[in-house]
Amino acid sequence: MKQRSRSIFVACWLSAVVACSLSWSVHATPRPFDADSLHAIERARDGQPFMLVLWSLDCPPCLTELATLGRTVSQLSDQRLVLISTDTTADDAEIDALMKRVGLTRFEHWRFADGFVERLRYAVDADWYGELPRVYLYPPDHARVSYSGILDDDTLGQWLRQLVSDTRAQE
């Protein structure tokens, strides 16, 4: 009996460690964003509001934008913000470090899966010219609106308030 309880204890401990480790690994590595990924992101938030932010390590204004978001999105639950980096696999460690630095690790982050950027940009938005940062606000019906460049304070404040109120209306 004692032996059995120890086995159960060990098994539980192991499961917890494995689960914890898996979830840590998944969150610490950006997900590869391919031509179907936006649909997956939207489907997972069907009928729910969220904000989508495209950025790259090579874009100094993007860092400003991410730092601002890190300071202002404390009221948003984890599913309300999605980040997509247009960088490459070689940049994953740097992307992770930046997410930690700006305090955005709890949100889903993705990174362009390959160098065929025309196709991936087109999958995000056929009307987007590739400028960064690029931000979309999705209301619950997903009739999204877009913004290019660093969000000005008024727009960001208004969008965040709308996200919070739309989320409350859902609950």
């Binding site: 120890r6 204890f9 060990v10 401990w13 192991l14 460690v17 494995v18 480790s21 898996l22 690994s25 590595t29 590869p32 790259s56 090579d58 874009c59 100094p60 204004p61 993007c62 860092l63 490459t88 696999t89 070689a90 994953d92 460690a93 390959d114 160098g115 065929f116 950027v117 025309e118 196709r119 940009r121 087109y122 056929a126 009307d127 987007w128 010219y129 590739g130 400028e131 960064l132 940062p133 690029r134 290019s148 460049g149 660093i150 000005d152």
Partner: protein, 425 residues
């Protein structure tokens, strides 16, 4: 206590195992520190030997004998090679930088190649250095037709761990070599003083001894956009002409153009606004202009320019003809308004102007070209020169006398030198 040791041991092993599995999975997905594979060709997989097909961001130029020279980036090295048969086959590449570096080898930020007429090979490029957006501008030369390269030198003389990137290079008829780049030393100084500074600055250095030494760094202009390439050419009076995306107050990202005096020391007059599209954005276009001065008789001081904008007045890829003496854009046309169109290039040869760009239809990228025999007033119908269904590099227009080519690297097909002169109706 003893009872706890076993679970701890197990958990430690499990943690290591799971994490190594995850790391392996990430590795299979192309993780690691090198740039992602430049090519899908079987010959380029794994530890491929340096080759134009397998490298990244090739820069091409013809020498006086019509041989095609190519420099490309692969695994932290730049390699130089040449082809005597217009790109059908290449000589064994020679390595430029023996010590590997983090070479910037993406579309907008890529190595540059110039050839002298006595076997000189000049290369400039940007390396990533530790720190946020930090980079240094590098230069290397060969005086024996690329057989040996001197050790690379860093051209930015402040050696600060800040951004010096997006290098450009030009050589005038007297052999004076210019290297320009986007530099953030003034932004860093402003930050130290607690003040603001919009964008970056364009700095340059000059060598009049074939790259053996360079002048102290000089500032060309304040407040350039910080992530778009600079376009350069040399005019009939041996003056450097530069075109760059500027940051006009406040965050108006139109282009400016300027000439440097023939003695290379200062600007010849103030920079002039070259484009007026009304694009206000506090962001990165990552999409710089191109420039080629007219070669036609009686057209000295006319600059053919191409650029990208998303302004309130115009959108997409644009072509224009700028009169440097009058300081006016005298012609402006749309090349392609589609959001996915990119990298407009322009090249003036004697009696003809060429423009080329990438178009995208939702599944494949088409390399397009058109030409004009009346200095850009009217253009041939756009022609599809090549296409690809995977990732592709930026194309370059290059000429051997009146023969014009597109130099293009694509992931699925490798490197191609595509003649476009023949295709003219």
């Amino acid at each position: 206590m003893r009872n706890l040791r076993i679970p701890f041991l197990f958990s430690a092993i499990a943690l290591v195992l799971v994490n190594s599995l995850m790391a392996a999975a990430a590795g299979q997905h192309g993780g690691g520190h090198s740039s992602p594979a430049a090519s899908l060709l079987p010959a380029c997989q794994g530890a491929a030997l340096p080759a134009p097909d397998c490298g990244r961001t090739p820069a091409a130029a013809f020498d006086g004998q019509g041989r095609l020279w190519l420099v490309f980036s692969q695994n932290g090295h730049l390699y130089l090679t040449y082809s005597a048969d217009r790109g059908a086959s290449f000589a064994a590449p020679t390595v430029v930088n023996r010590v590997p570096e983090k070479i910037s080898d993406d579309g907008e930020n890529r190595p540059k190649l110039l050839l002298g007429d006595a076997g000189q090979v000049f290369l400039s490029w940007t390396v990533k250095t530790p720190g946020k957006y930090a980079g240094a501008v590098r230069f290397a030369r060969s005086l024996d037709g690329g057989r040996h390269f001197d050790d690379p030198v860093t051209v930015n003389d402040d050696h600060a761990p800040i951004s010096h990137r997006f290098d450009a290079m030009a050589r005038d008829r007297r052999g004076r070599l210019y290297i320009l780049w986007l530099d953030k030393r003034d932004l860093a100084a402003a930050k130290r003083n607690g003040s603001d500074y919009a964008g970056a600055a364009v700095y340059y250095a000059v060598s009049d001894d074939d790259g053996a030494s360079f002048t102290a760094n000089r500032k060309l202009v304040d407040h350039s956009c910080e992530c778009c390439r600079i376009a350069v050419d040399i005019d009939d009076d041996d003056r450097l002409v530069a075109l760059w995306r500027h940051v006009y107050p406040v965050n108006l990202r139109d282009h400016a153009i300027a000439r440097v005096r023939a003695d290379s020391t200062t600007l010849s007059g103030e920079p002039v606004r070259a484009t007026d599209d009304g694009w206000i954005v506090d962001g990165c276009p990552h999409h710089g202009p191109d420039l080629s001065l007219s070669k036609a008789d009686g057209q000295a001081g006319k600059a053919h320019i191409t650029w990208f904008t998303r302004g309130t007045k115009h959108r997409g890829l644009m072509y224009g003809r700028f009169d440097l003496d009058q300081g006016q854009l005298e012609l402006q046309q749309s090349i392609d308004e589609a959001p996915a169109a990119s990298r407009p290039q322009v090249l003036a040869t004697n009696g003809r102007v060429w423009r080329a760009w990438k178009a995208f239809d939702g599944s494949s990228t088409r390399l397009m070209a058109a030409d004009s025999t009346d200095e850009g007033e009217t253009w041939s119908a756009a022609r599809v020169i090549a296409q690809t269904a995977a990732a592709s590099d930026h194309p370059d227009l290059i000429a051997w006398h009146d023969e014009v080519f597109l130099s293009w690297h694509t992931q699925a097909e490798g490197y191609r030198l595509l003649p476009i002169t023949e295709a003219t109706p």
